[in-house]
Amino acid sequence: MSETAYVAGAMITARDAPVRSTGLVGFVRGRLLNSPTNILLTAASILLLWFTIVPLTKFLLVDAVWHGSDRSACLPETLGRPVGACWPFVQAKFSQFIYGFYPESERWRVDLTFLIGALVLLPLLIPRLPGKTTNAAVFFLAFPVVAFFLLYGGGLDGFGIGAAIEALAIGADHLKAWGIPLASDAHVYLALLHDWLRNQGDALGSPVWFEFGIVATFVSLVILAAGGIRAFVGTVATFAATAVMIAALRLDHGGLPIVPTGSWGGLLVTLVVATTGIVASMPVGIALALGRRSGIPLIRIASVAFIEFWRGVPLITVLFFATYMLPLFLPGNFTIDGLLRVLIGVALFAGAYNAEVIRGGLAAIPRGQAEAASALGLSWWRTTRLIVLPQALRHVIPGLVNSFIALLKDTSLVSIVALFDLLGQLRAAFADPEWSSPTTLFTGFAFTGIIYFVLCFGMSRYSLFVEHRLNAHRRS
């Protein structure tokens, strides 16, 4: 055992106070200037900011021209100073950017559609508000119909019953043509019934309401018999809402004047293609994702092949496919609208991408969930519909929002196949010699860029918010 080896003989001088690590000074020292490399990086960053932010603000705000009626307002010669953004150009072309060539007197319809869409969508996006199921049903089922009749116009000239009987008759004719004998001439009776119903409706003076009434009564009674009083009330409410819609849009009297899709344009087309794309691609995506995980070999192979095919080709070739090839595949007397063709292509394309996102969600559901459901005696369909899918879809909301952002951006490609979306309108506006000035191009890009950025960035923030909320249990 050694003795105490060391005893301090003198007072040790007090240490310096530690370097401040809080507040602005601490922040600057710790995060910006803590090493020679970092000082260098900070200096470079400041220079970079100086060379981007300053000219940008100068261009967009300080040197910008705010009033004027043609290009001469934005020429440096007239102003005698360097010219920044030419905002009168945007003002002059604003309605084109939003509506394209939609007739001026009918633009309130577009505004109304935007308004209704926003009013239905907003409560859907706020998690705290109740009634999500009804809200989602309204947005995904009712809103597209309303939007279609509002934007496109036109009315109803018959209701479900007429169409159904006609389809049955056509089917019977087909079967006969293929030489399959029918038990009796069922289609003849169907056609007779159809004619009789039509005549009754015409006699009453309002065939739409007549057929609507028959369908509503029939369906409601079936629902009452099969699903009980709750379902019955829901069905009646749906029919009542539909009736209100028909009356409001005067669909029984031919509806609003038709605006052909060829004259749609601008932000309208961008939003229509993107929204329809995501809504239509959801069922496609769910079906493909389930198909890919199916235990039935051919269904799995077909789904994998479908998904890999659409994911392996660029969207632009899909659009070429929809524009040039699709019409050749349809019967000669059958033409579909240019916008609709593009929508079909976009829905299939986005469906394949969504399928992979949804598959991720399905894979994240523990096997025990489905096993517990089958232990309770639920069938595969019920297990999927009630247990697995709702959980899986909740998991992948952020992923779906991402694919919606991607779709919104990709929508700009339709301008290559002669549809004038926002970007297409921008290019068209550049061609106007009345506004050609050195800064017109930059101004146009700045304006549309801001629109795209606000939409996409807003959505990406929203998906972060949802992700955060869904993972609330993971945070400590």
């Binding site: 632009i316 050749l328 019967p331 952002i405 301008s415 191009l441 990406s460």
Partner: protein
């Protein structure tokens, strides 16, 4: 007795059920039959309609058109091409142009992407914020928008050829594109190339030897001087022996444009810039996620073993990060290649532009042309993803997981 009774009596039927219908059994079998019938019917309808429609529009079908004369010029070709060449040649020209812009885009996207991604991880607050802003800005604007911006707004604002920005009178930047000297190989090129090949082989061998020695004995052999000597020394030696491997053909301003040299059309520049900056934003996020996925304890463990910071990065962090980075990175490369099809919007003569665009409008053979175009992109995608799954399989084997 009991054993026989216990044997499942429906063994054969169950097997059949399984074989025909998968896990879902007979209902699965029924679904498969329905699927096959539906697909066959759709296929039949499509072929039938297409045949009728083509007959009424008097369009010939088949691939014979590939051998007829194209008769239009292409602004940039990497392989010899003239107007009297066939549509097949046009297809090849388009494909090489697509691959060229994709490769250039991939190289720059990787460089910018890694820089931005590491910048985002930097401890420097300002730098990480700037990198973050770059990512957010670029990712939230459509690619076509960015391509048009570079093409219509930025490159068109470059000076005329006469006032072009030039470097040492050999590299010219103007609104007619990017001109630079074109190397023309002499007979000394072959030995030069062989020398580079030998040097590369040497480097690979040296690396393998040093690694084996390191793992066997723990001794580190310093190889970089030898590597440098091989990579620089050998080629330089051939230059001394055989003379210059190439001469340069400089671009010269004649009239309103440059002649001679190598010229990149502005469309190429716009497309390459837009593709690489756009993909870089996505690659940056991939890199960030990859580096963050390496557990903090890993570099700490490396440091406690006495490895230097560089060695920790090279031997511990990067290999593990790469495992996470590579699959999505390949996806980005694929996306970039597919996105290069947007060239059609600005008229860069890529596959879609010259083949699915000009050739389609000249011949009207939509089915064949769109099918070929899709098949080429599909083949590129499938080959790449097959290579990636082989890589992933090897990786998971070597990591023992």
């Amino acid at each position: 007795m009991t054993g026989e009774a216990r044997r499942p009596p429906l063994m054969l039927r169950a097997k059949l059920r399984r074989a025909l219908g998968g896990q879902a059994g007979w209902s699965g079998f029924a679904l498969q039959v329905v699927l096959v019938v539906a697909l066959a019917w759709i296929g039949h309808e499509i072929i039938d309609n297409a045949r009728d429609n083509l007959a009424t529009q008097k369009i010939a079908s088949g691939f014979g058109f590939l051998w007829s004369t194209a008769g239009f010029g292409v602004s940039q070709t990497l392989i010899p091409y003239s107007e009297s060449d066939t549509y097949l040649r046009v297809l090849l020209v388009g494909l090489t142009n697509t691959l060229a812009v994709s490769i250039v885009g991939i190289i720059f996207a990787t460089i910018i992407g890694f820089m931005v991604g590491l910048g985002r991880l930097s401890s420097n607050w300002l730098l990480s914020r700037i990198a973050g802003a770059y990512v957010e800005l670029i990712r939230n604007l459509p690619l076509l928008f960015q391509i048009l911006f570079w093409y219509l707004a930025v490159l068109a604002a470059l000076p005329q050829p006469r006032q072009s920005i030039n470097l040492f009178d050999s590299v010219f930047l103007s609104n007619r594109g990017f001109g630079m000297p074109k190397p023309i190989g002499t007979e000394a090129l072959a030995p030069f190339a062989i020398a580079i090949g030998i040097a590369l082989l040497l480097v690979v061998a040296l690396r393998a030897i040093s690694q084996r020695v390191l793992f066997a004995t723990g001794r580190q052999i310093v190889i970089w001087p030898m590597v440098l000597a091989a990579l620089i020394g050998l080629p330089v030696l051939t230059v001394f022996i055989f003379g210059k491997p190439w001469t340069l053909d400089y671009p010269v301003l004649r009239g309103f444009n440059f002649s001679g040299g190598m010229r990149m059309v502005p469309e190429f520049a716009a497309l390459a810039i837009a593709l690489s900056t756009y993909s870089a934003a996505f690659i940056a996020e991939i890199v960030r996620a990859g580096v963050q996925s390496v557990h903090k304890g890993q570099p700490e463990a490396g440091a406690s073993l006495g490895l230097s910071r560089g060695d920790v990065l090279r031997l511990i962090v990067v290999p593990q990060a790469m495992r996470v980075i590579l699959p999505p990175l390949t996806n980005q490369y694929l996306n970039l290649t597919k996105n290069s099809s947007l060239a059609v919007a600005i008229g860069y003569p890529d596959l879609v532009s010259v083949f699915a665009g000009t050739t389609l409008s000249q011949t009207g053979q939509a089915i064949e042309i769109v099918a070929i175009t899709m098949a080429i992109y599909l083949a590129i995608s499938l080959i790449t993803s097959a290579l990636m799954s082989v890589y992933g399989w090897r990786m998971s084997r070597s990591m023992g997981t």
